[in-house]
């Protein structure tokens, strides 16, 4: 269900083109003992997956993070269904990254908790880590390794066998158009190439849940499309939580969108639902002659917001009737040259809800 696919973005273009014996026994035993100690402390206590409603992949319960006195994430309650693609849309400092970091067990919440596929992020972090893939906001790759080695590092830590790893890496490199440079040390890559590698490193072990923190930051339009197209392939199959500044990205990709600002999720729903929720934000733009003060006063008396700048009148209100407005203007003596009604965009939704413009 994606009511918001704008046809322009799903162009038919082919996306395929993007594509030791030295240690004495003592040391060996010491290492084994230490390892065991470490593991013991970490695997206990054993907790069975909690019974949450079966169709939820991610469920946050009052999830809160406070840095010193700054409330970065303010007791958010988020339910993301299995197979859903959820986008967190918000300006800088909204708390998107902080939320993701808590969900992938990098940050300890100040309050509340979350369950990922039923595993509690506080009690079973390593269970959670086995099933998630994370593409961090900053490009996180190992500079002196090549693409293969970077992918294989993550894959092997997840216990993927070499053969499968090779096939998957090949596919992913192909998709992101990195095959040709796959054997170069990645420190020689451009920012966008590094970014693409960083994204596929989150995918190499086929995680059930995918966290993508601003996946297309710093990519050129072509690469961005490739990433979108790739993400779309997983729709319905994997649960994806994505953050973005890009309105059209959320609009194009997401099943549901959460608008986040100052640590809170201020609005949540499908793109259409969000737009409907601000239907009073319909605007009519009218180009007319003879917009006298009388006309303006009369209109201001009838509609919520009326702005006039030489020859252009902008009326904003809930539900605007095109014919009624044009007729009224005519009867007041103004001559309408042209006029149209603007439907609300996600941008308007965002602006209305947060009172802020998005960065891009």
């Amino acid at each position: 269900m994606c009511p918001c696919l704008s046809p322009g973005l799903v162009s038919g273009s082919s996306f395929g083109q993007y594509g030791t014996k030295l240690e004495p026994h003592t040391i060996k035993y010491a290492i084994i003992i230490i390892t065991l100690l470490g593991e013991m402390r970490l695997t206990s206590p054993k907790v069975e997956p909690a019974k949450v409603s079966d169709d939820l992949a991610i469920q946050t319960l009052n999830l809160t993070k406070i840095f010193n006195s700054l409330v970065a994430v303010d007791s958010i309650e988020l339910n993301i269904k299995k197979g859903e693609l959820f986008a967190l849309l918000g300006p800088n400092g909204a708390g998107k990254t902080t939320t993701i970091n808590m969900l992938c067990c990098l940050l300890k919440p100040t309050g509340g908790t979350a369950k990922i596929m039923g595993y509690d992020i506080l009690k079973q972090p390593f269970k959670v880590k086995e099933i998630i893939g994370v593409s961090p906001q900053e490009t996180a790759i190992s500079e002196r390794l090549n693409c293969w080695e970077n992918l294989s590092l993550i894959g092997k830590i997840h216990g993927i066998n070499a053969k499968e790893l090779k096939i998957r890496s090949q596919q992913l490199l192909e998709t992101m158009g990195l095959t040709e440079r796959a054997k170069d040390q990645v420190r020689k890559f451009s920012g966008g190439m590094k970014r693409r590698l960083s994204i596929i490193m989150a995918l190499v072990h086929s995680p059930e849940i995918l966290f993508l923190d601003e996946p297309t930051l710093g990519l050129d339009p072509q690469a961005r499309r490739a990433v979108w197209e790739y993400i779309v392939r997983f729709k319905g199959e994997k649960t994806i939580l994505l953050t973005t500044h890009y309105m059209e990205e959320a609009d194009f990709l997401a099943d549901r969108i959460g608008i986040m600002d100052e640590g809170k999720i201020d609005a949540l729903g499908t793109s259409t639902e969000l737009k409907i929720s601000i239907l009073e934000k319909h605007t009519m733009i009218i180009y007319a002659w003879n917009l006298t003060q009388k006309v303006i006063n009369e209109m201001r008396g009838r509609y919520k917001e009326v702005e006039v700048t030489d020859g252009t009148m902008i009326i904003t209100d809930k539900k605007l009737d095109f014919k009624e407005i044009v007729d009224r203007l005519h009867s007041l003596g103004a001559i309408v040259r042209s006029a149209y009604i603007k439907e609300p965009t996600l941008e308007d939704v965002f602006l209305t809800i947060t009172g802020k413009e998005l960065r891009e």
């Binding site: 470490g38 990098l106 002196r144 390794l145 092997k156 490193m201």
Partner: protein
């Protein structure tokens, strides 16, 4: 084997950076060379040589004064009249080498017959004879000025090991050098943290122990090579090894492991690469001093001595010195050895606990 995967990556990260690696391995070489030249003795100084003139002729006296005029030699005065005096000096360490001018030397020179000379030296110092022979030969040929057969006979003498400073210095320097490794071990981890790569690895199921071992293992070859450099250059500089080299190597290896662990702890705690690499200097040099890297700490105040005793460094130096230059076996250094192993284990447990805490800040 997640730790193995992580350590493979770090191995590549480390060894594909030739400059950093050069520093890491060049450091022990520079240390040991500078220190042994500065304190180790003979290498560049004139060879101090005793002369026994049994011939007591005018010709032999002229030869002696000729030797005395050579800058590369420092003839011990007075010239001995009998070999027994020189032997005694050699045995007690007053001399490392002496030249014997046998009876009949003058006569042989006059008659243009074959001339025999003898060099006797401390067998612990074979380098010395190798340096001395060509000098003596050149002087003799110059002196004779005509082609006569010249034999220089070499004689090794087994000499009781004297406690030379180099024997004290090399194990001390080795431990100090390994302590300096503390400044580099945390580097990769700190850089990874700054660049977000560590966070990425933390979103995988890798455990704290995987991280600690994964980031330390790549430095093990560095320890092995460093210890080999310290001991190897030490021997060239006159270190006399009479004990079990393998055991001494092992002791130094374990203190090296302790240092890796300490470096890892700092890497876990440090906020920046500068912190991880600069902060350790504050304690490395003082600790090396009070642990006896460069001079004996027997006479230090008991508090300081106590601190040094509680830490592993002094034990590593004492044990490796005992093994290398006194030839004792594992039995004699067992306590020190177990103490070191214990410290290594404790350090790694602390490292893992601290890393575990840092994983969920």
């Amino acid at each position: 084997m997640r730790f193995w995967e992580i350590s493979k990556r770090n191995l590549k990260e480390l060894y594909r950076d030739p400059v950093a690696l050069g520093f890491l391995l060049g450091m022990p070489l520079a240390f040991i060379l500078i220190f042994s030249f500065a304190f180790g003795g003979q290498a560049t100084r004139p060879i101090s040589i005793g002369v026994v003139d049994e011939d007591q002729s005018q010709i032999s006296a002229a030869f002696v004064s000729c030797l005395e005029n050579i800058p590369a030699l420092e003839v011990v005065s007075p010239v001995y009249e009998s070999e027994s005096q020189a032997e005694e000096e050699l045995d007690t360490g007053g001399l490392s080498i002496y030249l014997l001018i046998p009876r009949g030397f003058g006569e042989a020179v006059e008659r243009r017959q074959a001339v025999d000379l003898e060099l006797a030296y401390n067998e612990a110092d074979p380098m010395l004879s190798q340096r001395a022979v060509p000098v003596v030969r050149a002087v003799a040929l110059e002196f004779l000025n005509i082609p006569v057969p010249l034999n220089i006979e070499l004689r090794e003498r087994e000499v009781e090991i004297k406690d030379e400073y180099i024997n004290y210095l090399v194990p001390g320097m080795a431990v100090f050098g390994l302590m300096v490794l503390i400044t580099s071990v945390g580097g990769i981890m700190v850089r990874d943290r700054a660049k977000g790569f560590l966070s990425r690895l933390m979103t995988t199921p890798a455990r704290p122990s995987d991280f600690i071992f994964g980031y330390t293992l790549p430095f093990i070859p560095v320890i092995i090579i460093s210890v080999a450099i310290y001991l190897g250059v030490g021997v060239l500089m006159g270190l006399s090894i009479i004990g079990n080299l393998g055991l001494a190597f092992l002791i130094l290896f374990i203190i090296g492991i302790c240092c890796l662990g300490i470096g890892m702890i700092l890497g876990t705690l440090a906020k920046s690469e500068e912190q991880a690499s600069a902060a350790p200097w504050i304690f490395i040099v003082p600790l090396a001093m009070i642990s006896g890297s460069w001079w004996s700490v027997e006479q230090m105040p008991s508090v300081i001595r106590g601190i040094a005793e509680a830490l592993p460094f002094l034990h590593a130096m004492d044990a490796s010195r005992a093994v290398l230059t006194r030839g004792v076996g594992l039995e004699a250094v067992k306590d020190d050895f177990l103490f070191l192993v214990g410290w290594a284990v404790v350090i790694f447990i602390i490292g893992i606990i601290l890393f575990r805490r840092s994983m969920r800040s």
